[in-house]
């Protein structure tokens, strides 16, 4: 039988004898017989060897068509096909990082702790805010934590959220609001930009804008900031971290909280997870920070050392009064992001942002010249854009897949129907993303395939 247990039968027998027992079953004698599981009653197949299980997984992988080797990826929507070089994969898969637990004993966890300190520094600089935590689950749940922070800081419960925030993130916010009792009011997009007057409230705990928003649009940040001020709420910016390499930072726009999806920094598409929730705050909110934070200190010999700190906020100490219930986060993805950003360097990060935007603008120009294809909005965009097609987007995506192209995401599939982010019917709207990995040849192929698909 295949498994990973070292014990020989003789050893098991000797250990049982040491305990005065005769069988492994005796270990469970104190469990009431009425609830014990009968032998063979679990309903699982027998175990199989690794090569046999690999065969089962090969069936899964063969049944996936949307893989990198079969389709050129123009899908985005918060999950992007950026370069992840061999060196980053090799370093991030070192087992010292992969098979460690949370750094509860800092003397033997300086590797993870220092990498997180470097990560926090990078997120702080990207966000333009002084304090970043050591990561959260993903962008969507990072936004939830931002709203919970805002509720605690303002003692209010109304959250004004731009409809330009990713539809899935807004859905997650609504789910969590079932427990917190937060009232979530969405402000619609008009021509791709948030119309704050569409959210009819007098005060708010938080005002949330996505920058750029999920349709790729570079939002009117001054208006968003002014709305936050008017409503007396914290200004929460949900930023694309790649754009953050060149756009004015969230802090530069006066944000109180920055959240983002860190997947573009070294994490593969991974069918949506594990990803990386980026989170940074202005200094007055440090004591309300959710999750872990690493701080620099010294050891008993005066040497620099790192340790998780401000622990009094956390659930294992504060229990029902904690700032968040988060325990496990996404440390490995945070460490990966730090390594990826170290690889990119100052110039590389900028190059990724500029090349992605350049490709997106080139493709946008070519596509909107195709008959029947129109831009969804006129507002400026960064590295992702939405177009209206003469046919349902899901049909076009299916057709273009036969030409080897993952054309993008159907906005109606993301929103699940009519939505405040799109004026009119979203079903013909296609969201297209371009990363620095896309070439002119691939753009040309895209345009040809789309032309065929809408003919």
């Amino acid at each position: 039988m295949a498994d990973y247990l070292p014990h020989t039968d003789d050893e098991v027998e000797a250990m049982l004898a040491f305990l005065g027992l005769t069988s492994l079953d005796d270990l469970f004698a104190h469990i009431p017989a009425a609830v014990r599981l009968a032998a063979g009653a679990m309903g699982l197949p027998e175990g199989r060897s690794e090569p046999d299980v690999a065969d089962e997984f090969a069936q899964f992988t063969r049944a996936n068509r949307a893989t990198a080797s079969q389709l050129v990826c123009f899908a985005g929507g918060g999950a992007y096909d950026h370069e992840v070089p061999s060196v980053v994969r090799a370093l991030a898969s070192r087992s010292e990082f992969v098979t460690a637990y949370t750094p509860y004993q800092p003397e033997v966890a300086q590797g993870v702790l220092q990498a997180l300190f470097e990560y926090q520094t990078l997120v702080s600089r990207l966000s333009g805010l002084p304090v970043a935590n050591a990561s959260l689950y993903d962008g969507a749940t990072a936004l939830v934590e931002a709203l919970n922070l805002a509720g605690g800081a303002t003692h209010r419960s109304t959250m004004v959220v731009s409809a330009g925030v990713h539809p899935h993130w807004r859905a997650v916010v609504r789910t969590f609001a079932r427990g917190t009792g937060h009232r979530v009011v969405e402000a619609p997009l008009v021509d791709g930009v948030t119309d704050w007057s569409g959210a009819d409230v007098d005060e708010a705990a938080a005002v949330v804008v996505a920058y750029p928003n999920y349709l790729g649009v570079i939002e009117d940040m001054a208006a968003a900031r002014a709305n936050a001020t008017r409503l007396g709420g914290l200004f929460v910016v949900a930023g694309d971290p790649v754009a953050a390499g060149v756009l004015r930072t969230a802090g530069g726009w006066g944000a109180d909280v920055f959240v983002g999806e860190g997947q573009p920094f070294g994490t593969a598409l991974s069918f949506g997870g594990p990803y990386l929730g980026l989170f940074a705050v202005a200094s007055e909110h440090v004591r309300r920070l959710p999750g872990r934070i690493v701080g620099e200190t010294v050891d008993t010999n005066g040497r620099r050392a790192f340790v998780t700190t401000l622990r009094a906020r956390e659930q294992d100490i504060r229990r029902e009064k904690a700032t968040s219930n988060v325990c496990t986060n996404q440390t490995l993805m945070a460490v990966t992001a730090a390594i990826q950003l170290g690889w990119l360097g100052t110039a590389g990060l900028r190059q990724v942002a500029v090349a992605s935007a350049t490709g997106a603008h080139a493709l946008f120009d070519a596509l909107t010249a195709v008959e029947g294809v129109t831009p969804l909005v006129t507002a400026p965009f960064f590295r992702e854009f939405a177009i209206r097609l003469p046919r349902p987007a899901d049909e076009v995506i299916a057709t273009m897949a036969s030409d080897g192209i993952l054309a993008g995401l159907s906005v109606a599939a993301l929103t699940g129907g009519p939505d405040l982010s799109v004026e009119g019917d979203p079903s013909n709207v296609l969201l297209v993303a371009v990363t620095e990995r896309r070439t002119q040849l691939e753009l040309d192929a895209y345009v040809d395939a789309l032309r065929k698909a809408v003919r």
Binding site: V53, S93, Q110, R125, G179, V246, G295, T328, L341
Partner: protein, 502 residues
């Protein structure tokens, strides 16, 4: 039997010197770079032509500039300053640091899984959907439940999901209930999740046997109780033997039973939450199914429920429909708990682990975990007594009270001293109801030889408490840094390189 050398003691790691490792920012030399990007042949455009001027960052962002060789050196040296389960035994109670099979990593690294975009339509990701459906079926079989969501990204997210399901269930019955009961031995995530779920916490005490006090529980129950959250075996490593009575009492007042699956690894194939009467179960896949914890995450916290709660599960769920696989959202779904479909690559690893083990294999996992914990408890009985002197499950909680009163050596000193012996520390000062708690969870993957040297190391440390207590206060000394000043870190927060430069 114990003559072989142990494979789980990390005392032979070559660490040269005791100097600090510079940060990547200290290593940075402007102008250096490692990045190599694709040649796209797309005509260049200026940023100014694409982005309105007021949106351009007036202060160029500076990160760190390293040559690839220096980046590799830096990160590799950091990795050498990090303990991991691959290096040695990690008996961190409650955290279940068992060996993580490399095979599970390799299936998850397959481009056929890892390069798939999460927003691709269902017909393009049939393999992924089948994988998720298969995992859901396996998890339901293991827990004795009817249906599951795979979305929650970790155990705490699973807890909140369970509480929102509880709320949706009571709401659908037109009932306003406001309290959730939690034993005083519970993990801190339980009460924190209860608050986020919009409920109030009622804590019930444990009795002198370390179990839920049934009379106190009955006294706390009432028509306003939404449910109870229980860990079984509990955080003291003991099985709640009166679980049938507890379930009856809670169900009698219309409450639901929530199973915190932090310790599910102890009962695999032995007893199932569903058969004990639980309505909602979360699982920590990194604990029970050995997915790597990554130094603090990622985890994955699927939640399985009984049939009457299935219609409230988060959506969309991968579902088998006429021999194909589709995304289906349950009719009364509480909504999304994750930006996409959950921590998919963690889910894939867990399925690989389950498939390799199968039914008898998973039962052996539980048997050997409990065997190892009881052996260690018995072996150390004269050194550090167990907080509750009776058979434990997968972990044993020992107490250093007598060492502390006799020699002034605390549990923390013993834990730190173990680091010098080449082992990770046990969990200290948890659960809160045990004085000077040291919680050992050896897991099923440590050999008898490793357990013996671990026990011998604890023995020698406790012996040294009488003769040379100062050396224990100073431990560890063989580690990359000695004890760190935690108070200073909190008093004067330096959370970034930029803080450090100020």
């Amino acid at each position: 039997m114990m003559t072989a050398q142990p494979g789980g003691r990390a005392a032979s790691i070559p660490l040269m010197g005791h100097e600090v490792e510079p940060t990547m920012f200290e290593l940075s030399v402007p102008g250096r770079s490692a990045a190599q990007l694709r040649t796209t042949a797309i005509p260049t455009r200026s940023l100014e032509s694409m982005v309105p001027a007021e949106h351009l960052n007036p202060e160029p962002l500076v990160t760190a500039d390293l040559a690839e060789r220096d980046l590799v050196g830096h990160v590799t040296r950091l990795s050498h300053r990090q303990f991991s389960v691959d290096l040695g035994a990690y008996p961190l109670g409650s955290c279940t640091m068992k060996y993580n099979p490399k095979f599970c990593d390799s299936v998850a690294a397959d481009p056929g899984l890892v390069s798939v975009h999460p927003g691709a339509s269902a017909p393009m990701v049939q393999g992924w959907l089948e994988l998720l459906v298969t995992l859901e079926e396996r998890l339901c079989a293991i827990t004795g439940m009817a249906a599951a969501t795979l979305q929650p990204a970790a155990g705490a997210a699973g807890e909140l999901t369970g509480l929102l399901l509880m709320r949706a269930y009571h709401d659908a019955n037109g009932e306003q209930r406001r309290r959730v009961i939690i034993p005083d031995s519970a993990h801190g995530t339980n009460p924190a999740s209860v608050t986020l779920g919009g409920y109030e916490v009622t804590t019930v005490p444990s009795n002198e046997r370390g179990l839920v006090d049934l009379d106190a529980l009955r006294a706390a129950l009432g028509p306003d109780v939404a449910g109870i959250m229980l860990t079984n075996p509990n955080t003291v490593g003991l099985f709640e033997e009166q679980i049938v009575e507890i379930a009856e009492a809670v169900h009698d007042v219309g409450g639901l039973l929530y199973y915190d699956g932090a310790n599910l690894n102890a009962i695999l194939g032995v007893v199932r939450p569903g058969d004990m009467g639980f309505d909602i179960v979360h699982m920590n896949l990194h604990k029970t199914f050995a997915t790597p914890h990554g130094g603090g995450g990622p985890g994955a916290g699927p939640v399985a429920v009984s049939a009457r709660l299935a219609r409230f599960l988060p959506g969309p769920r991968a579902t088998r429909v006429d021999g194909r696989f589709e995304w289906v959202t349950p009719e009364a779904s509480i909504g999304r708990m994750h930006g996409w479909h959950g921590n998919a690559m963690v889910l894939a690893r867990a399925l690989a682990y389950i498939e390799v083990h199968g039914a008898p294999g998973l039962e052996r996992v539980a048997q050997h975990a409990v065997l190892n914990a009881n052996w260690l408890r018995r072996r150390l009985a004269d050194t550090l007594p167990a907080a509750y002197d009776r058979p434990c499950m997968h972990e044993c909680v020992l107490t250093a009270t007598s060492v502390k009163s006799a020699h002034g050596v605390r549990g923390l000193d013993i834990a730190k001293s173990l680091l010098d012996e080449g082992f990770h520390s046990p969990t200290v000062y948890f659960p809160l109801i045990v004085d000077e708690a040291l919680m050992f969870e050896p897991t099923e993957t440590e050999s008898p030889q490793t357990l013996e040297v671990l026990a011998a190391a604890v023995e020698s440390i406790v012996a040294r408490a009488a003769t040379d207590p100062e050396s224990l206060h100073l431990a560890p000394t063989h580690t990359p840094v000695s004890r760190v000043d935690e108070a200073r870190a909190a008093r004067h927060l330096i959370a970034t390189e930029d803080d450090a430069q100020r």
